[in-house]
């Protein structure tokens, strides 16, 4: 073989040569760079978005062979086993096993549980109603995805869960119901969560009067340590008995919270909050980003998902606010309806938005702790909604 033939063959096997074979690969690389910019410079959920964008970049570099969607198609069709994927797959295929099995979202939930103080929710159990009302976005988006855009029910359920404003829940459900749509759904969920301070306030101001927004709420009652320790155990028993499909997510959330509250497992609580959470976040974000392979991502459906995701977020905010307004009326003006919008999960961002809007209307207003109740109730509510959708459409 001559030196020219060798150089020619080397050129033809280079990524640059293969890049020219399909323009969509270039588009995806540019899109990954835009997402990296949003994460690095604009600081949009950088912990997740940087990993997702880099996974997207790696998977669309031709010839890298880091992720093989066709292997996963064969696995879903029952023609391959996980051992075959470990043997034949690339690095990101191996990391993706944790997504497919539901391992990473559950472990992330354990960390979230260890970081979450359910005290405001225990102090004001009515907050749970606001957390439930804010799940309206999930089911309204599900309905629109089927009725307007003609998606299959399992895909529509995965799109709807974006309205839960809870990344791990969205990834957990989508990896089981519609793995082909994992990347656009995860990106939409995390992008809109980062944009909550822009998405929610206009709706909050539109649906509430100045008088309602100015409402000052009474100090929350104190919560004992015993109540905080009993809470995760009771929630696990009752909710998992009611809806067993939600056990992996809710069980891990409550286990993490029990580590935090019992006061005997500080080392474990510290590990799940920091080391474990960070490791799993790296694996989860890069492998989810890797599923954004150009020929599956650049479709009209991705655009529909982005649109439906925004609608789901807005309707979730509307649901929480409307019930908040009802509670304002029924309580004789003691409950500020702004805390209802925090029912969309996105802890603690949505609660901070309620606090900011409340203080904007009345500078002596402190709604943060009151809004944390619906906020953490929203985490439980979206997990229950995901469990319901999995039980119905999971086959």
């Amino acid at each position: 073989m001559s030196i020219l033939e060798t150089l020619s063959r080397l050129g033809q096997t280079s990524g640059f040569y293969m890049l020219l074979s399909d323009w969509r690969q270039i588009v995806m690389i540019l899109l990954a760079c835009v997402l990296l910019y949003l994460g690095l410079v604009k600081k949009f959920e950088p912990l997740l978005l940087i990993g997702i964008a880099f996974g997207m970049l790696l998977t669309n570099l031709p010839g890298s062979h880091m992720y093989h969607p066709e292997l996963w198609d064969a696995y879903i069709a029952g023609r391959l086993r996980l051992t075959d994927i470990v043997h034949d797959g690339g690095l990101l295929d191996i990391l993706y096993i944790g997504v497919k099995s539901g391992l990473y979202p559950s472990l992330i939930f354990m960390g979230v549980g260890a970081m979450t103080d359910f005290g405001p929710l225990i102090a004001n159990p009515k907050s749970l109603l606001l957390g439930a009302a804010a799940q309206l976005g999930i089911f309204a988006a599900f309905l629109m995805a089927i009725g307007v855009f003609g998606f299959d029910p399992n895909v529509a359920a995965s799109i709807g869960i974006i309205g839960g404003a809870d990344g791990p829940t969205a990834i957990w459900l989508t990896s089981k119901l519609a793995p082909d749509y994992l990347a656009p759904i995860a990106i939409a969920a995390y992008s809109y969560m980062a944009l909550i301070p822009l998405i929610q306030p206009p709706v909050m101001r539109l649906l509430t009067t100045k008088e309602e927004r100015e409402t000052k709420m009474e100090q929350l009652r104190p919560v004992s340590k015993t109540q905080k320790v009993l809470f995760p155990i009771i929630v696990t028993i009752f909710v998992c008995l009611l809806l067993p499909s939600v056990a992996p997510l809710l069980g891990c959330l409550m286990l993490g919270n029990l580590f935090k509250e019992c006061g005997l497992t500080d080392r474990l609580s510290d590990t799940v909050q920091n080391a474990l959470m960070n490791i799993v976040t790296i694996f989860l974000s890069t492998s989810v980003g890797a599923t954004a392979v150009y020929y599956r991502f650049l479709t009209p459906q991705t655009l529909f998902i982005i649109v439906l995701g925004l609608i789901a977020f807005e309707l979730a905010t509307v649901g929480g606010l409307l019930l908040g307004k009802l509670m304002y009326k029924l309580s004789g003006g003691k409950i500020n309806p702004l805390i209802g919008s925090a029912g969309v999960s996105a802890v603690p961002m949505a609660a901070r938005v309620s606090q900011k809007e409340g203080q904007r209307a009345n500078p002596s207003n402190f709604l943060l702790m009151h809004a944390m109740g619906p906020n953490v109730a929203g985490v439980i509510g979206s997990a229950v909604a995901a469990g319901f959708l999995l039980a119905v459409f999971g086959g």
Binding site: M115, G131, L143, G167, F231, L242, P348, V379, L389, V392
Partner: protein
Amino acid sequence: MGFSDALLYSLAGMLVVFFALVLLMVIIKVMIAVGDRRQKQTAPTPAEALEPAAAPAPVPAPGSAGELKLYDTDPRTAAMLMAIVADELQLPLNELRFLSIREVKENDPT
């Protein structure tokens, strides 16, 4: 799946979410009621309450409203936060009552 079926599933989903969270609400309320009842039972009887205490309770400093609880916050940061709040509200610090100060963790990925 048709629109009517999807609508039924959506309504059923909302009902299940509300049912689960209302159930939780009731259970938490029962838990709180039981806790309060036990606390009342273990509280001193009026006769016991009339007995002189072994040692007098520490008298709060003038203008103070009890003890401030700090969670993951050092006293220096707490003092700065209280000063900032007082400044923002344009109120003297001794007219405000701080019950507790807790650090909100920033690295929550949800």
